[in-house]
Symmetry: C3
Subunit: 345 residues, 3 copies
């Protein structure tokens, strides 16, 4: 853990100090738990009351608060500033340790400078690993894989043959890259396995969550573009393309050959059917299900996915469905009686 | 496998023997498959007919059956008694084997008595493991983890830095504890990773299923309280709290910072959105989706979750929706015609 | 990679050559990416236009096209033929390597001829592995497991005690076979673990996807029958039976004791509740939820599952629900006014 004064931190985040800029902090803490030596953050006016009671030494704050009551770094995006300060103070890349005893690296693998390969890792033939990358214990890298620089591959992750990772890629524990796509040709009642001879290509700055599976392409490439962030237990099928800076929350499933654009967001347990094209800046609500191509710049929910606001209204009406049904029955009888009455009169 | 007579077993489960209490059994078997030497169990009157045909040597039975037809242990909760007898007869904790060849344990790790660490395990610095705990092959324990006594950690599980497990915790294969929470601060179109510097704290008697992921807190603690039982492939996001004796069935997803009370049950594939408070004794049906805070003592289903009975009725009406829609159209036309007729008359 | 001429390949797939049957190809490529030396395939008339522009050396084609424009293998099932040609040209089982350094195999394990066990694998006591089977790095096989011939077990898979695999079984990375079923007997507010003392039996020609979990039976057997294909991140609970040639797509969940028939298909994220019987040739659409027993030969969707066509119609009406509700309100008022008018007149 490092120590920094407010002047340094304000420069780091592009903010302005109110109060004594020589104040030193060593930790970031939530507003209720912060004490002396801690810096906290307030990203929304609703936490301003809590700010009065905090014991923090300083606060990262949005502009416009007249008297914060303690030394503050004022900036337009306090949440981003919080992330940067936290990284600065509390994240420390471990010292490189080389190939540790108990790791097995093929003789012809090429390792960059300052690589760390923990015990229990198995690295195959012709593998390349860029400088500064870390493989935590029991990672398995099959033959012909390329891993870029400064990657962090957590314990138990598996990267199968021929797949490629860019720079600064983070794989959480037990991520599986390049498993066979789910492809079978019907042969009467039985199924004949279609060999999956493509690869997975993961570009720079991608992060992938625990136990998420990215299947290799049948032919060609399954591609996760620069900056995409994928949560735990997500399924990415063969030949899928995930666009730059797109976010897939936990337990999402994307079926084969679907292409998702840039800066999209899929909420938890959402899904897309296969062979679709989904435009840029599309947001799918939690458990939404996309069954057709989508133009850019939409917010959808439900299965099949519909405009989010319509889905909200329809969902509210759903609980009333039995009542509506009864009402329709009543109206029908009432109308029949009325017709009868008129006929009789 | 052990052998026991009915007297011993009746004492074990707090039951009463009908018939010869010296009868010995060595195995528990379902009523159709049981033979000589087996004890079976009948927890519901609908299996009484099957009891007449069984070849079992004895039965665990609810009270009130006049002539079971074979030696019986009578008790109020035969299902619980079955579990206890099965544990007594057929579960045998393996002999402790110490640190086995091929396991790598840091020099400063503290291991209690009778610990077993199988080949391929990697145990980091300053780790503490309580007496009698077993780590099956290829478990990875990062630095500064604390594991209590009599835990069972199955093959391939990963426990990341600083996390804590209580006593008698069971992790099934490939459980992942303490992976990074999914937190990113938007920086224009791109995302800046928010370091996840908190931990996971798992209390006594928790069981967690295969490939389930419990993310570490951003700041602070993700907590699984005493006695919670979590099935396979479940996602527990950062800063979640799961209450005592709460059950999460397979493929459930709980989003960040949500707190679930005591003795709740989430059915398979159910989910809760983030930052919610869910009271005690709440049951969410399979694939239910909780989107708002919940008072205790409710049974809900659907997305958004509604009282289970209402959901059942609404679901029944859902299939009738096209018919209702047509009927409404018909009524509209009929009414218009009638109005016309009246106007004309 | 192999080379073959069209004559050989036509014999392999039971097709007929149009053009020079001595043409040699060494790779299968999609129609847009194929070049000299590649064979491509056209399984649908909509790709015939693309065929004119391809640089492929040959094509696998359905019958009835008069002039393909390049050498062709004509056959009734081009997709199946593609899979067979791809397997022939591009799949090469690795040379057997025996027990590699860094693998730990119990002294009394029985290994067939030509077995390969990669570094980091741990194979327990009394395990049997049939000839030609491959265990990739860091696979864990507990005691008393039986694995058949020509199986492929990818990195990080775990097979727990006593489970059985047939011949030619493929487990993708991190598959978990035989973890404890999720069984607990309520004891007041708390839960008492029901020991799971059964096994998992996986028959010949089954393939199971990454991070999929198949739980062992409480008592008895969880069974995956011959030829079933299971995708990634699927949950199969204790005592389930999956029928022959049945397909479960990614993230499906099957609850305890449910039996699924032959040649069924469950779409992605679909589920079945526990203790059900589902007949042969049943198809459940993506995210469908089965809550009751099902007769054979049906296509269902939705939760609870209903005939797929009805579900489609009901889903289309769902978005109109707020409108329907308003319309019903309007009709009600209109009718009341009309009744009033009639009463007055």
């Amino acid at each position: 853990m490092a120590v920094a004064n407010l002047k340094e931190l304000a420069e780091l985040v592009g903010g302005k100090v109110i109060g004594d800029e020589r104040i030193e902090v060593h930790r970031v803490a939530p507003i209720g738990a912060a004490g002396a030596g801690d810096i906290t953050f307030v990203a929304s006016p609703k936490y301003l009351a809590a700010l009065k009671a905090t014991s923090a030494s300083a606060v990262i704050l949005f502009p416009g608060v007249e008297d914060p009551g303690l030394p503050a770094i004022i900036c337009r995006n306090p949440y981003l500033a919080f992330a940067k300060v936290l990284t600065h103070l509390q994240v420390c890349r471990p010292e490189p340790k080389g190939v540790m005893p108990g790791a097995r690296v093929a003789a012809d693998a090429q390792l960059g400078e300052d690589v760390t390969i923990h015990p229990g890792c198995v690295v195959g033939e012709r593998v390349q690993i860029g400088k500064g990358s870390i493989l935590y214990p029991n990672v398995v890298v099959y033959d012909d894989v390329t891993i870029g620089a400064d990657c962090t591959i957590h314990a138990g992750a598996v990267i199968r043959e021929g797949c490629r990772l860019g720079d600064r890629v983070i794989l959480q524990p037990s991520v599986i890259i390049g498993s066979d796509g789910f492809g079978f040709a019907p042969d009467g009642e039985r199924y004949f396995k279609i060999p999956q001879v493509g690869i997975v290509d993961i570009e720079d700055d991608v992060e992938i969550g625990s136990a998420t599976c990215v299947d290799r392409a049948a032919l060609g490439v399954t591609r996760i573009r620069r900056g995409a962030k994928i949560d735990n237990l997500v399924q990415i099928a063969h030949n899928v393309v995930i666009g730059e800076d797109t976010i897939l929350v936990s337990q999402v499933g994307i079926a084969g050959s679907t292409e998702i654009g840039r800066h999209c967001t899929f909420g938890g347990q959402a899904a897309a059917a296969g062979h679709l094209k989904i435009g840029d800046n599309v947001t799918i609500g939690g458990r939404g299900g996309v069954t057709h191509n989508l133009e850019p710049n939409q917010v959808l929910s439900g299965l099949p996915a519909m405009p989010h606001k319509e889905w909200l209204k329809a969902s509210m009406s759903f609980a009333k469905l039995p009542e509506i049904r009864k009402e329709v029955g009543r109206l029908k009888r009432q109308l029949e009686e009325l017709e009868m009455k008129i006929k009789e009169s």
